[in-house]
Symmetry: C2
Subunit: 202 residues, 2 copies
């Protein structure tokens, strides 16, 4: 966790994140400060639970979340993680306003900023910059998902782990093994074997 | 295939498709007519081949495409189909301008309209409506991908087939069994069994 993030105003961090791609006007910044609401979440607290409608798009200020599905054998499958300055939501449930099949749970004590469906539509309608910002945020999420599907098709578990290490160095340090294994689609035991093999080869 | 689409101007179909969500101004329509280029593709012709950079975003006027990856055993895995009035591209390769791991191939003789990276950026910069249109197009693609991952986690082959039938009734009529099986992640033989089982239950 960045030291500044402990003291900085969460809204400053969000505004800086928008400004980093397409700088906001004074009016747009005011709207952001008005519409996004701060929330603290305990470790193992939920932003979303299966069968609820996903009512917010969430920006992570500090902490870490996992979004996952539970299969018919009660096994968890991680679809996505989000750490500082990343976005998380079940956008299918959010836009269609239908019950979600996903859970979003804090892996660490976290602080987030959230916007409702109604307020985000208000931003889209009144300030086109948010169409652009969220077009790009969604494109990146989409690419991440596509990449994940492609890796599960063509890569060995070892290659998938090495790619995860390369693409998400921060997550490798912070996440428990079980969470990484669930994302890579393997058991924790198999992940330990993969790691030992990599060390041996070095 | 819609009968009108055989005779209508492809650009009229594209403009109507945009107008269907957020109507274009006269100037925006002129730009669309200027920047999108028509192309006819034979059955089994490629819009994109693995290791090439995906240079266009493609709107399908008539015909049908599959986007797929080939694994290390040369087996094809279908990620997505696109028929009339749908969009197709490897957006990772398109935006990052890096070689693609995907192929986009025509399953029928097809007519498409394509725009280059440079021209799409020009539209984004000069007319915010395209940010909005493509934000929504990408959100729908993203939701489709997420849905596919969730179905592969929690649903049986029979449930996945029934959902495919419900969500893509047009594709069920037009696609060969092998293509549907490759999308559902099962063999053609297993798909035949699934279909027989469904008929038995009725």
């Amino acid at each position: 966790m960045d030291k500044d993030q402990n003291t900085a105003d969460p809204l400053d961090i969000l505004v800086a994140s928008f400004n980093n791609s397409f700088p906001l006007s004074k009016k747009e910044e005011e709207e952001v400060r008005q519409l996004f609401k701060k929330r603290a979440i305990k470790k193992r607290g939920f932003l979303l639970q299966q069968d609820e409608v996903c009512k917010h798009i969430t920006f992570v200020v500090t902490g870490c979340f996992k979004m996952y599905a539970v299969d018919t054998n009660f096994k968890e499958h991680n679809l996505q993680f989000a750490i500082e300055k990343e976005w998380i939501a079940d956008i299918q449930s959010f836009y269609d306003e239908k019950p979600s099949r996903l859970n979003i749970e804090a892996l660490e004590p976290s602080v987030v900023l959230q916007i409702t469906h109604e307020d985000l539509l208000y931003l889209y309608i009144n300030y086109h910059k948010f169409d652009r910002n969220f077009r790009i945020i969604n494109e990146r999420k989409f690419i991440n998902f596509q990449d994940r599907i492609l890796q599960s098709i063509s890569y060995t578990a070892e290659e998938r782990y090495l790619n995860f290490q390369r693409d998400f160095p921060e997550l490798i340090k912070r996440l428990p093994n079980t969470q990484i294994a669930s994302y890579l689609g393997i058991t924790s035991e198999f992940l330990s074997k993969v790691r030992k093999n990599i060390v041996k080869k070095k």
